[in-house]
Amino acid sequence: MKQLLDKIPQRQATAGLLICVLILPWLPLGDSTNYILRVLTMAMLYMVLALGLNIVPGFNGLLDLGFVGFYGIGAYTAGLLTVHFGISFWIIVPLAALNGALWGILLGAPTLRLTGDYFAIVTFGFSELVVMTMRNELWLTRGPMGLPGIAPPSIFGHEITLDWEYFYLVIFLLIVVVFIVSRLQDSKIGRAWFGIRENEIAAQCCGINLIQYKVTAFAISASIGAAGGAFFANWFKFIHPDMFKFWESVLILCLIVLGGLGSIVGTMLGALVMIPLFEILRTVLPQELFNARYLIYGATLVIMMRLRPDGLLPFIQDREKKAKQAAERLSDYLAGTRKPEQAIPVSSTKE
C-alpha cells in the first residue's frame, strides 16, 4: 500500500481527483444525484472546518474544544447581515472570517499562556457561552426561534439555489482554504508552529515568540471556522442555536484525529470518509443505534490515540516522522547531548 501510494505522482493524483469531483454533478446518477451532491457538499464543508481546527491541535499541539463557537459566530454573522442588511455573500464571508478572527484573538490572547488542559476547558466554556448567548439574546438572534429566511448567495446577479451550484461553491471555498493552510504550513509561521508543538522550550530558545505565534494560529483557525459557518448559513438558509452544540467540535476533532493530526491531506480524507459513512449508517442501522453514533466518534478517538496517534495514512506518518526527528535532534542539541553540526534548526526541516 505504501509503495503504491509513493509511486503515484502527487500532482497527477490531485488533478485526477479534482476532475472526478468536478464532473460529478453531470454523471448519470438518477434521482439520487441531488442527495449525493448534498452529502458531498456537507463533507466538503466539514473538510473546511477540519482544516481550520487542525491548525490548533494539529500544528500547535493544543486541544481546542471550542471550535464550534467560532463556526456559530460565523454562521450568525452571515445570517444576520444577510437578513437585516442584504449584504452580498462575497462580502459576508470575509466579514464573518474577520469577526471570527477577532473573537479568536480576544479569547486566545489571555488563554494561550495556559497549559493544555486549562486551555481546553476554557475553550469549551467559551463555546458554551456563545451558544447560550445565541439562545437567549432574542433581540439579536431570535434565540430558539431560529433565524429563517436567509437569502441565497448570488453570483453576477444569478441566485444560487440548486444543489450542484452549492457543490461548486463549496469546492471553491475548500480550494481557497487548502491553499491558505498549505502555504501557511510551509511558511516560516508554519515551521514555528511545528516547533512549538514538538518542544515549546526549544522553540522559545530559537527566538520564537510563543504567545504571538499561538494567537496567530488560533485567530486563523477561528476565521476559517467562521467562514465555514457563513457558507453553512447561506446554504441551509435557516440557522438555530441547536446546530452549534458542543458535539460538533468533537466530531470535527474526530475527523482530524482519524486522518492524522497536523496533516492536510489526512484531515480532508477523514472528512471525505466519515461524513458519507454516517449517511450510509443512517440507512443501514436501526434508528436507536444510529442515535448513538457519537459512540463511534468517542471510540475512534480513544482507539486512534492508543494505536495510531499519527492517523491512518502511511505516507503522512513518514513525513511526520521526519519532522519529529528534526525536532528531537534540536532538543537533544539544546540539552547538550548532541553536537551543534548534527542539529538541524526547526526552520529548515522542509528543505
Partner: protein
C-alpha cells in the same frame, strides 16, 4: 473502491426504487430520543389511517404506505431528512415535522423542491407565511396562548400568574401570546423564569415563585420537564396550581401523583369529539387500551387529507399543493376526527381548543369555556 460501490448502490436502492407499486407518504418526526413519546403518536396516527385506507381499497387501487423518517426534533437532522424526502420522486407529500424548529429547517428544502407538506403539530407562528407549500392542521401558538389567558380569567378566575418557560420556540411563542392577552385581561404576571431541556434542577426558580405567592404557575413547555417541575414544586411546599398547553398533554404526566390538578389545552378531546371520531376512538382504545392523544388525531387527519388530495389529483406535487390550497372554506373543508379543517391564505387553519385536567391519576375533560 468497494466502499464507494456499496455507498452508491445503497443510496440508489434507498432513494430511487422507481418500480414500487405503493404510494408513499413521508412522515417526519422524532421517533427516538427525548421526545420519542410524541413521535410515537405521529406514528400511530399515520399507521391507523394508512391501514384504514388500504382496507377500503387503497388510493384508486394502489396501496398507501407511510415512510417514517426520524429527525429527533433536531433542526440539522431535519434538513438532512428533508433532503432525502425531497429527492425521492415517489414521495409527493410529507406529513410533519413535529417540532417547529425542525419544520423551519426543512421548509426551505421543500419549497425549492416544490414538495407540499402538512404539519400536524408545529404551532410556531412564522411557518405559514414562509412557504406556499406548507400547510398545517393545528392552531398556532398565538391562538393557544390567547385561549389560555381567557380561560384562566373566565373559568378559573386566577389573578396572579407566574410563568416558567423553556428556552425554545414553542414555549416562548406561547408565553408571549399568553402575556399579551393577559395584559388586556388585567391578569397580573408576577414573573417569568427560564429553563432549558437539559435542566433538572428547577428549585431556585421555583423558590422564587413560591415567595411571589401566585394563584397558578404556567408551564408552556414539554412533559418531561413539567413532570420534574411538578414534583420539585411539591417538595418545596408550593400549593399553587399548575397549567400548561398541549406540550404537556401526554400520558407520562400521570406517572407522578404531584401532577394532580394540572390542566392543559389540547386541540382534541375524546369527550368533545364529533360523530366522525367515534370509530377512530373506539379502534384506538381497542388496539392500545387507551384514548388517542391529540397528536395521533391530528396526524390521522393530516394523513387523511394527503390521501384525499392524491386521490383527487394524482401524485403530482404541484397539483397536490394546489388542491390543498383549494381547501379554503367551510363548505369544502376536510371533515376529520378533529373537526372541520380548512386553510387560510398562509396554509394555517383555525381549530378549536379544549381543556383537560389530571384527576386521580387520569386525564379527564375539564370545564370548557363557553
Amino acid at each position: 473502491m468497494k466502499k464507494l460501490l456499496i455507498l452508491l448502490v445503497s443510496i440508489f436502492f434507498l432513494t430511487g426504487s422507481a418500480w414500487a407499486k405503493t404510494i408513499k407518504i413521508g412522515v417526519a418526526g422524532p421517533f427516538t430520543g427525548p421526545l420519542a413519546s410524541f413521535g410515537e403518536q405521529l406514528k400511530i396516527g399515520a399507521t391507523m389511517k394508512a391501514a384504514e385506507v388500504n382496507a377500503a381499497g387503497g388510493i384508486n387501487g394502489n396501496k398507501v404506505e407511510p415512510v417514517f423518517m426520524d429527525e429527533l426534533c433536531d433542526p440539522k437532522e431535519a434538513a438532512t431528512v428533508g433532503t432525502k424526502l425531497a429527492n425521492d420522486k415517489n414521495i409527493s407529500i410529507v406529513i410533519g415535522h413535529l417540532c417547529s424548529s425542525s419544520t423551519l429547517a426543512a421548509l426551505p428544502i421543500y419549497r425549492s423542491a416544490k414538495l407540499p407538506a402538512i404539519s400536524p403539530t408545529s404551532t410556531n407562528v412564522s411557518i405559514g407565511k414562509m412557504s406556499p407549500y406548507y400547510f398545517r392542521n393545528v392552531y398556532r401558538d398565538d391562538f393557544q396562548g390567547l385561549f389560555l389567558a381567557q380561560y384562566i380569567k373566565k373559568v378559573k378566575n386566577f389573578k396572579k400568574v407566574a410563568i416558567f418557560y423553556e428556552v425554545n420556540d414553542y414555549s416562548m411563542g406561547l408565553m408571549s401570546a399568553f402575556m399579551k392577552e393577559a395584559l388586556k385581561l388585567k391578569i397580573n404576571i408576577l414573573g417569568t423564569e427560564a429553563y432549558t431541556n437539559e435542566t433538572t434542577d428547577f428549585k431556585p426558580q421555583l423558590t422564587k415563585f413560591k415567595m411571589m405567592r401566585p394563584d397558578a404557575i404556567f408551564v408552556p413547555g414539554y412533559h418531561p420537564q413539567a413532570l420534574l417541575i411538578a414534583s420539585q414544586a411539591a417538595s418545596l411546599g408550593i400549593k399553587a396550581k399548575m397549567f400548561g398547553a398541549d406540550g404537556l398533554d401526554n400520558p407520562t404526566m400521570l406517572d407522578n401523583p404531584d401532577t394532580d390538578g394540572l390542566f392543559v389545552t389540547t386541540p382534541f378531546l375524546v369527550e368533545s369529539a364529533g360523530p366522525a371520531a367515534k370509530s377512530f376512538i373506539a379502534k384506538h382504545r381497542k388496539d392500545r387500551g387507551e384514548d388517542p392523544g391529540w397528536m395521533t388525531a391530528n396526524t390521522y387527519d393530516a394523513f387523511g387529507m394527503a390521501v384525499q388530495a392524491i386521490k383527487a389529483v394524482g401524485e403530482n406535487r404541484v397539483k397536490i399543493r394546489d388542491y390543498l390550497a383549494g381547501i379554503n372554506s367551510k363548505e369544502n373543508g376536510y371533515d376529520g376526527v378533529t373537526g372541520l379543517t380548512y386553510f387560510d391564505g398562509n396554509g394555517d387553519c383555525l381549530k378549536s381548543a379544549y381543556v383537560k385536567e389530571i384527576k386521580d391519576g387520569k386525564w379527564i375533560s375539564a370545564q370548557q369555556m363557553q
